[in-house]
Structures are given as structure tokens and as C-alpha cells.
């Protein structure tokens, strides 16, 4: 897992949370994304997908995957799936 990519994903997650009024910028790779972790609901996940797509021209959700943790997003891109 590259640190730069992890930082980039963390920044996007922080922006998603900020849009719903949550101030958080520090994440761990093992953090779970949804109600049992960071707290994303369907609208937040939609935002995350849009921001990832905007940043990388590809997002895991549009590729048939449904990441459960921060690490899974990072792995999606570090596995060479990003354009």
C-alpha cells in the first residue's frame, strides 16, 4: 500500500465526511467504511464513488466492487486498476 495513495484516499474521505458535517481527517487502513466504522450511508457512498471517479477516472463501485475498508479502496487503485 503506497502512503501517497492512502493519503489521497484519506483526503477524499475527509471531504465526504465534511459534506455531512463530520470533521475527521485521520483514518486507518483497517477502518470500515459504513455504519460499523466511518459511518458512510448510501448517499455518502455515492459521494465517495463520484469523488474517486473524479480523481482517478475510475472508481471501485463502478467496477463491480464494493469496498468494505479504506485499505480495499487503496488496494483497488494500487493493484493497477486506476487509469
Amino acid at each position: 500500500m503506497t502512503e501517497a495513495l492512502f493519503t489521497q484516499i484519506s483526503t477524499i474521505l475527509a471531504r465526504v465526511l465534511k459534506a455531512k458535517g463530520v470533521d475527521r481527517s485521520v483514518f486507518k487502513p483497517e477502518d470500515r467504511l459504513y455504519e460499523d466504522g466511518i459511518g458512510l450511508d448510501s448517499l455518502d457512498a455515492a459521494t465517495l464513488a463520484a469523488m474517486l471517479d473524479h480523481e482517478f477516472n475510475l472508481d471501485p463501485y463502478n467496477s463491480g466492487e464494493f469496498p468494505q475498508t479504506v485499505a480495499e479502496i487503496v488496494e483497488f487503485y494500487s493493484a493497477g486498476k486506476k487509469s
Binding site: S42, A49, A50
Partner: protein
């Protein structure tokens, strides 16, 4: 008629669990016994009709059913809407009575807390031997988010008329995934009642709670939007999937995509998949059970039940004997209802291509771009803005916006202020999920080019 269904349920399956919510289980007999008391109290509260602004719960379901038996008009308001919006809707509907679980002031002559309603009704239970079964009506508001949703009035008979009769089916467990202010939520309630089944109301709408509820109460039938199903399929683990007992998957409110239908088939291989096409005004129009996107071309050639379909200039029109009886302002339902859905006829299929208007469908909720633009245009430093629909793998579409800055404006500051303004004035569905700062918005004849999506 609705109350007669409850009576039939209570007689044939008195111990049958009719409603399960966070407070416990209400049997068919228990619901039936409460009915006469509720009818009496509701009649005293509202002669013209009653609005409910209450969290989805067994007591709300029982109260709704009692309005029908009381011969009253009933309207369930979106409990997620802010009280200011509720006030505007109440004034427009002109309903004098409001039953609520919220604190605050509302423009209604009579405001009753639902706790008091239930308590008062319980004290009168059985004090009247016969209930006056004059039929009531229900008003269902469209999910449009302009603040002035259209109000479609239905008889309960019409709503029931489009639910296929399945006498052999009983004892199903339906999850209430739609709220009760939504057309589809009422349909799920009526289906559970008519089939002498159980309505399971989740304590919350997050997916951890939803999945726990599905497992705990052994839910076998679920109706939800494609957005709901994408999240459920994405969230459920292999271990949880093995414990789920879903036999019936119903989708509606948005167009289903081929990839979602395939994922549902893979995850729930033994479940029947039904796509329902319905609108608040036209009611339930048809169902497709082949788990393919769109509907068969043959539906255009012959009536589907009591519904006829036609395409004019790429837009789907519906004529139905089960549509609303009128708008609440008294204007009648048009004979052919323009659905606003753009469709394309292929060899043997009619495929949904989007909406005719600029309305954005976010997870089944309609968002009007102009309303969002008005909010953002008030932000200092914004020169022009275009709000549009962007395709999204979770919610089908999201609200996106491009902002053109005034000269010298700080990009980060404008972005933050725009988000704050939208967060303060708009529902979560309406808030832009993608906000881009652009050099210049495209104009034609000095008008912003509004069509197109990301």
C-alpha cells in the same frame, strides 16, 4: 374495506404477527381490537382529514388503517422533512388536524401527540360495538423536493386494486424499506395486510440495522429501490447472506440496471425478482419478473391488467383505472398520464433512458436543479452555476454542479460556503455530491446550456 381486511386477518389468524417494530409485536387480533377506539378518537380529532407526522411504527400503521374505517382523509408526511417544510405543506393541504410525535408549533387547528391518541383510543377499546365503515381516502405526496410536492388523492380500493390477489399466499414477512409517506411504502403495507402477512419495521434505516432486522425477524420479502438493493448487496457478508431467507426481491422507484439485476441473481439465487413500475399519480402500473432491464415491447400492444401504455416523442404515457382519483386541489387526473420517463424501444424490449425534465432522480427522490442553483447563486463569489444529474453506481444519479467564479474569488472559500449553504437549506438528497469549479460555463444565446449530464 381496509378494516375488513384486518378483520379477516384477525379472524383467520388471530395470533398472526401483523406488525413488528422496535416496541414489539402487534398481532392481527390486537390491531383489530384497537381499531374501534382509534376510529372514535380520530373522528373527534379531524372531521375533514388528518395528517400524520410520525416516525414509521406500528402505532402509525394502526392509525392510518383507522382513518379508513373512520371515513377520513389521511395524509402521511415525510418525517425526515424539516418542520418548516411540514408547515408549508399543512397550509397548502388545509388539513385542520395533525397527529405527531414531534414537538413544535404547526399551522393546524388541532395538534395531537400520537402517544395521547393511542392512550385515549386504548381507554375506549370495545366501548363501541360496531365501527362505522365509511370508506376513507389517502393523499400521497410526490417525492419532489421543491417544497410544494403534488398531492395525489386515492381511494383505498384503487390502491388495493393493483395488488395482485394471492389467496394462497399468507404468512410472509415483509420489510418496510420504504417510508410510509411513500407510495411504495403504502403498497407494502397493503400487501402485508391483504396477504395476512407480517410487516417488519426496522428500528433505523442504516444497513447494519437493516441486515440485522432481516436476519432476526427472518424476513423473506423485501421491496426497495435499486439504490437500496445496491447497498444491501454491497454490505451483506457471505456469512450473513447464508442466514438471510429472502425469497422475494421487489425493485421500484428507479430504473434497474442489468449489472444490479445480475448481482441480485448471484447473491440470492433462489429469490424471485420483480420490478414494479409505479408513479405517485398513476399508481402501480405493471410488474416485470424476468429480471431484465425495462419491460417487454408487447406491453405496448395490449393492456397490462387495467393499464395501457404508449410512447409519445420518447416519453412513456400511462392510462390506468387504478390511478389517483384527483389532485388534492380538485383537478382531475388526466386520462393519459405523462410519466416523464424517457424510453427507447429496442427489438423486444422498452428500456428506460432517463427523465424528460431536468429533474434529477436521486435514489428515487426527485430533485429540482433550479432550487439548488438558487441556493448556490446566493453565495458570495459565485458568478454562475449549473446543477445537473451525474450517473452514479450507488444511487443511480447524484446532484452535481459546476460553478463559475467571479473574478478574484477564492476557490476553496466558495466551495466551502456553497457546501455550507446547501447543507443548511437543502435535504441530503438535494445537496450536490460533486462540486466542480470551472473556468466558464457553456452558454448559448447568453443562456446557460442546461442539458447533459456527467
Amino acid at each position: 374495506m381496509i378494516s375488513a381486511l384486518l378483520e379477516r386477518y384477525a379472524t383467520s389468524l388471530p395470533g398472526g404477527a401483523f406488525i413488528i417494530d422496535a416496541q414489539g409485536t402487534v398481532t392481527a387480533r390486537g390491531a383489530g381490537e384497537q381499531l374501534s377506539g382509534l376510529v372514535q378518537v380520530l373522528k373527534e380529532i379531524g372531521e375533514d382529514g388528518i395528517c400524520f407526522y410520525v416516525q414509521d411504527s406500528a402505532r402509525l400503521v394502526q392509525s392510518i388503517l383507522a382513518t379508513e374505517a373512520a371515513g377520513l382523509q389521511c395524509c402521511v408526511l415525510n418525517r425526515q422533512s424539516p418542520s418548516s417544510e411540514i408547515a408549508a405543506i399543512l397550509e397548502r393541504l388545509g388539513t385542520a388536524a395533525l397527529v405527531t410525535d414531534a414537538q413544535g408549533t404547526f399551522p393546524a387547528k388541532k395538534i395531537v401527540q400520537i402517544d395521547d391518541l393511542i392512550h385515549d383510543a386504548a381507554s375506549r377499546r370495545g366501548s363501541v360495538k360496531s365501527v362505522h365503515f365509511k370508506p376513507g381516502t389517502i393523499v400521497i405526496l410526490t417525492t419532489g423536493t421543491t417544497g410544494i410536492p403534488k398531492a395525489a388523492q386515492y381511494t383505498w380500493q384503487r390502491l388495493l386494486g393493483r395488488i395482485p390477489s394471492r389467496d394462497a399466499v399468507q404468512g410472509k414477512r415483509w420489510l418496510l424499506a420504504y417510508p410510509l409517506n411513500h407510495f411504495a411504502g403504502v403498497q407494502v403495507l397493503l400487501t402485508a395486510l391483504r396477504d395476512r402477512s407480517t410487516l417488519v419495521i426496522p428500528e433505523a434505516r442504516d444497513f447494519r440495522t437493516i441486515i440485522d432486522t432481516l436476519i432476526k425477524h427472518r424476513v423473506d420479502s423485501v421491496s426497495g429501490t435499486p439504490t437500496f438493493w445496491r447497498m444491501l448487496v454491497g454490505r451483506v457478508t457471505d456469512e450473513q447472506a447464508e442466514r438471510l431467507e429472502i425469497e422475494q426481491i421487489t425493485l421500484g422507484g428507479e430504473a434497474s440496471t442489468a449489472d444490479l439485476l445480475e448481482r441480485l441473481r448471484t447473491r440470492f439465487p433462489s429469490a424471485a425478482i420483480t420490478q414494479v413500475y409505479a408513479t405517485t399519480e398513476a399508481g402501480t402500473c405493471f410488474a416485470v419478473k424476468d429480471a431484465m432491464p425495462g419491460f417487454p415491447v408487447s406491453f405496448l400492444d395490449r393492456p397490462v391488467g387495467n393499464v395501457e401504455l404508449k410512447i409519445i416523442d420518447g416519453e412513456l404515457y400511462v392510462r390506468s383505472s387504478a390511478s389517483m382519483i384527483s389532485y388534492i386541489d380538485g383537478s382531475p387526473a388526466p386520462e393519459w398520464i405523462a410519466t416523464g420517463d424517457l424510453v427507447e424501444r429496442t427489438d423486444d424490449r422498452v428500456i428506460f433512458r432517463g427523465r424528460k425534465s431536468e429533474i434529477i432522480n436521486v435514489a428515487g427522490v426527485k430533485v429540482h436543479p433550479l432550487k439548488v442553483e438558487e441556493i448556490i447563486l446566493r453565495v458570495a463569489g459565485v458568478s454562475a452555476v449549473r446543477v445537473y444529474s451525474a450517473a452514479n453506481p450507488i444511487t443511480g444519479h447524484i446532484v452535481a454542479c459546476d460553478i463559475e467564479l467571479e473574478e478574484g474569488a477564492d476557490e476553496d472559500a466558495v466551495r466551502e460556503m456553497a457546501q455550507q449553504a446547501c447543507g443548511a437549506a437543502l435535504s441530503r438528497y438535494e445537496q450536490p455530491r460533486l462540486l466542480r469549479i470551472v473556468e466558464r460555463l457553456e452558454r448559448r444565446n447568453e443562456k446557460l446550456v442546461r442539458r447533459g449530464s456527467a
